[in-house]
Symmetry: C2
């Protein structure tokens, strides 16, 4: 049984294509549902981008804060805020939810668009295919590239019990607007760590047991583009990084991430380390699993003059470390992809604990 | 202004995934519209595939003949046949139209699914964005790889006046079933010529003036896969060729084909030469435009032990040659992509005529 996977239905790519967002949204606005909700990363509050948002009278602009990674509580709160605003306007639902930002902002937008049409808390839907009703129309404008959130069928959330995505065909965006100009101003460190999310999940996908030719074609090209961006550079770098991220996301369609993502989830859940940087911290200790990938990653670190944080787990309590191990161990498909069906024999609690303690 | 391009919404890839077609179609069948129309290449009439078609009681199986390339007249005739069958069953429309075959069969399926909901003759819609109403649900199962028809927004038809596609977002399939086992039995020559359609349109796209990073990423990977298939070979060849075709089709999203396709259209229109072989015949004379591509193509010819037909235009009348030139010259976007905005200065009637006369 192969996944019949859902793609993003509409894609526009090109320098300056952000200017087409107003026309794109016009097709979604109706007399009954004229209002669009913009969820925008609050780093743009004082940025010229603010003036370029195609806001109409009825629209709702919500600045989202992603200093912490998206939590189910925050999703529920944003959903309530949108619901109340709609009720005030005597509308049932918005015409759409548009996420403008990096992976966290895109994930918040996916989650809010899902929760507007599905009852209860977003924490109830962390898992695989638990969503019952289609989301409202949702679109993304990435302003950071690497996570692949623009094409994935997940929205990764930290809930009361676990860090786990809402994995569903309904999670997939209806539209993405890929404008390389949007990522031109990203600070070098953030650009690197987010790019490494892409690089690392491609390495995990390409060396995994789930791989097929579809995922391989996307993953190999994504890696090649990552190499161009982080080992060579050049005027096309932003375009290439945006495509690397898109292809990296597509490569997960028939594969999975692996050891690094599993361990990185534990780190994020317990210590609040961000996903991109968390992956980079973890990956540097995974030479035994991904020897070539780790060697090339270190070359990229050097070329990009990035110094990895060390000793992030040094002050963690035993209890915290056990919790990290728990969070990592839940992610069965990741382990199975990385190490095969017998993964539990290879990756024991002790081994995970030892890995964490070195970080 | 960048194209906001429509993707195929659902994709399943994998050896044996054809077996999932019944489940996939179950989601489309309704009480009001329970009937699925299968348009299947008649080469399969006595093939075991026939027994594997997931036919239900009400379904319509139509064997299509693609000895000639799809004509608007044939599309209109097939559409009438489906309409009459639906009327007999007291249904307004089928639940879907499924094309099982190569590029021609897929194009027929796209065209019939469009014409079931749009009035008049399919010849009225040859051009760009002339279709008014969405098609009925339509899916493809390619049994030949290379054309990219499985992902493109066109259905190439030969009408009374011209060979030109129905280019529309509504043309795009809702679903493709990419099962590499389906192309295992293709005769070597046909496999080669159809594969070269992919190889050649990638060369045209990558050397064209319309290219951007999106199309480049897809085109480069597609070429690389073509090289693996036709210069190296190996057990993964069918999987790779299927992905090459898919990527090749995607690479056209923001680019265009070029000189070879333009000339090949003229050859097909006047002499009825099939698209794949027509492209190969033409490409061999285009060294001045695509020097590296033509050199590699000749290496593939040698490795695959293919002998190109020669002298196909030798018996053509002057009138026929002038018609070929006319048909080729209509294709403005192709010339503009290949040679830039000033293409008319470079590619005169005389030069096209001379090229044809050499073939």
């Amino acid at each position: 049984m192969f996944r019949n996977f859902k793609t993003v239905e509409r894609i526009v790519f090109g320098r300056g294509c952000f200017n087409q967002l107003n026309d794109i949204l016009a097709e979604q606005r109706t007399d009954r549902r004229p209002c669009v909700v913009f969820l925008v990363d609050d780093v743009f509050i004082r940025h010229p981008l603010k003036e370029r948002l195609p806001l109409h009278d009825q629209d709702l602009l919500i600045w989202v804060n992603v200093d912490d990674e998206p939590k189910t509580r925050y999703v529920d709160q944003l959903t309530d805020q949108v619901r109340r605003a709609m009720a005030d306007k005597k509308m049932d639902l918005p015409a759409g939810v548009i996420g403008i930002g990096g992976g966290s902002t895109m994930d918040l937008s996916k989650a809010v668009s899902l929760m507007l049409t599905n009852k209860g808390s977003s924490a109830d839907y962390q898992g695989w295919d638990l969503i019952r009703n289609p989301a409202v129309y949702h679109a993304a404008v990435p302003t950071l590239s690497g996570t692949g959130a623009e094409v994935s069928r997940t929205t990764v959330l930290t809930g009361p019990q676990k860090k786990l995505g809402i994995n569903s065909d309904y999670t997939v965006f209806d539209q993405v607007v890929l404008d390389p100009e949007m990522i031109a101003d990203v600070p070098a460190q953030q650009r690197f760590y987010t790019g490494m999310d892409c690089y690392i999940h491609c390495v995990e996908s390409l060396t995994g047991t789930y791989l097929n030719t579809f995922s391989q074609a996307y993953g190999e090209k994504s890696l090649e583009l990552c190499r161009k961006v982080f080992l060579e550079g050049g005027p096309e770098s932003d375009d290439q990084l945006m495509m690397a991220s898109f292809f990296g996301g597509m490569s997960i369609a028939y594969s999975q991430v692996g050891v690094c993502h599993a361990l990185s989830y534990g780190l994020s859940f317990v210590l609040g380390v961000h996903h991109g940087i968390g992956n980079s911290i973890v990956f540097d200790y995974l030479e035994e699993f991904y020897p070539e990938g780790v060697a090339e990653f270190r070359e990229m670190l050097t070329r990009q003059q990035i110094t990895l944080p060390r000793g992030v787990v040094a002050d963690a309590s035993d209890e915290q470390i056990e919790k990290m191990v728990d969070v990592a161990l839940i992610l069965v498909p990741l382990w199975e992809n990385a190490l095969g069906e017998q993964w539990e024999r290879i990756m024991t609690r002790e081994r995970i604990r030892d890995l964490y303690k070195r970080m």
